[in-house]
Amino acid sequence: MSKCELAEMSTAKEQPGPSKPSGSAQEEKERDERMFECNICLDTAKDAVVSMCGHLFCWPCLYQWLETRPARQLCPVCKAAISKEKVIPLYGRGITKQEDPRNNVPPRPAGQRSEPEANAGFSGFGFGEGGFHMSFGIGAFPFGFFTSTFNFGETRPGAAPRGSPQFLEEQFLSKVFLWVALVFICWLVMA
């Protein structure tokens, strides 16, 4: 059989066709309602959900279909791979609580929302015209973390006894590092 021909014919019929003379208000209303019909029961979708491929269903209708063929989770309209978890609920203005406790269809998945980005607020430092950003951090953080945390097995040697050549060496090294740090900080401040 040829699916392409079938698809062509059925979509050609449904085209709204702005070239056609517009019908009565009744017809227009009917057409509007058909746009929100469930693709399975052909009624206006209740507990409406939309698949990732964009097709509208009643949640109970889609759920029942996916339960009927657990091995083939396909969109009834376009045969795209779909799943029960990956549908978007549609919340219209009129809240319809149509879930019947007698049927054992679980509630449809909730909508996924992300918080809007907080780009207003925090004007504590009045530097310039709001284009000032300040960040503070230590560049080598993760590596320092690794070396200090993941050194299992090896215990650190204790401090060398006072007066020994090793003690002097350590003192020298620590002074060198202190100066290096001071130079670095000065450079940061001047930059």
Binding site: M1, S2, K13, N39, I40, D43, H55, W65, T68
Partner: protein, 154 residues
């Protein structure tokens, strides 16, 4: 009116739209279907410019209470069964959307269009190669047959 089951509601809607705007060459027996929503007779004409031009066929649709989750049982009936490589002489049709590839978004109308297009793309009128064996051994219900869909060209 008594409360209708979901399958009856959907069949009623399909019947109304099929009677109001039937596809070319397709005509539903509205009175008969209206009396018994679970069994329809569809009259079909062979499309112009095809091997079946001028022929008339009758299709029988039987719907279970699980329709549209369950596909309808569709067979050719009456005196003229089309001679086609996918249509057995007892009226059974080898068409994937009637079993494995059924989807509840399909309808009587789309099944009719598929069958018209299946007939229209035929190049040579002949019965399926295993016709006589199949007709002798098959179940009355074509949905009980384990079909092999191997020909995508028609």
């Amino acid at each position: 009116m008594a409360a209708m089951s979901p399958s009856e509601r959907r069949l009623q809607k399909e019947l109304m739209s099929l009677m109001r705007e039937p596809p070319p060459g397709v005509h539903v027996d509205g009175d008969q279907a209206g009396q018994n929503l679970t069994q329809w007779i569809i009259h079909m004409e062979g499309a112009k410019g095809t091997l079946y031009e001028g022929e008339r066929f009758q299709l029988q649709f039987k719907f279970s209470s699980k329709y549209p989750f369950d596909s309808p049982e569709v067979t050719f009936i009456g005196g003229n069964i089309p001679v086609h490589p996918h249509v057995y002489s007892n009226g059974h049709i080898c068409l994937s959307i009637l079993t494995d590839d059924w989807s509840p978004a399909l309808s009587v109308q789309s099944v009719c269009l598929s069958i018209v297009s299946m007939l229209s793309s035929c190049k040579e009128k002949k019965r399926p190669p295993d016709n006589s064996f199949y007709v002798k051994t098959c179940n009355k219900n074509p949905k009980k047959t384990k079909w092999w869909y191997h020909d995508d060209s028609v």
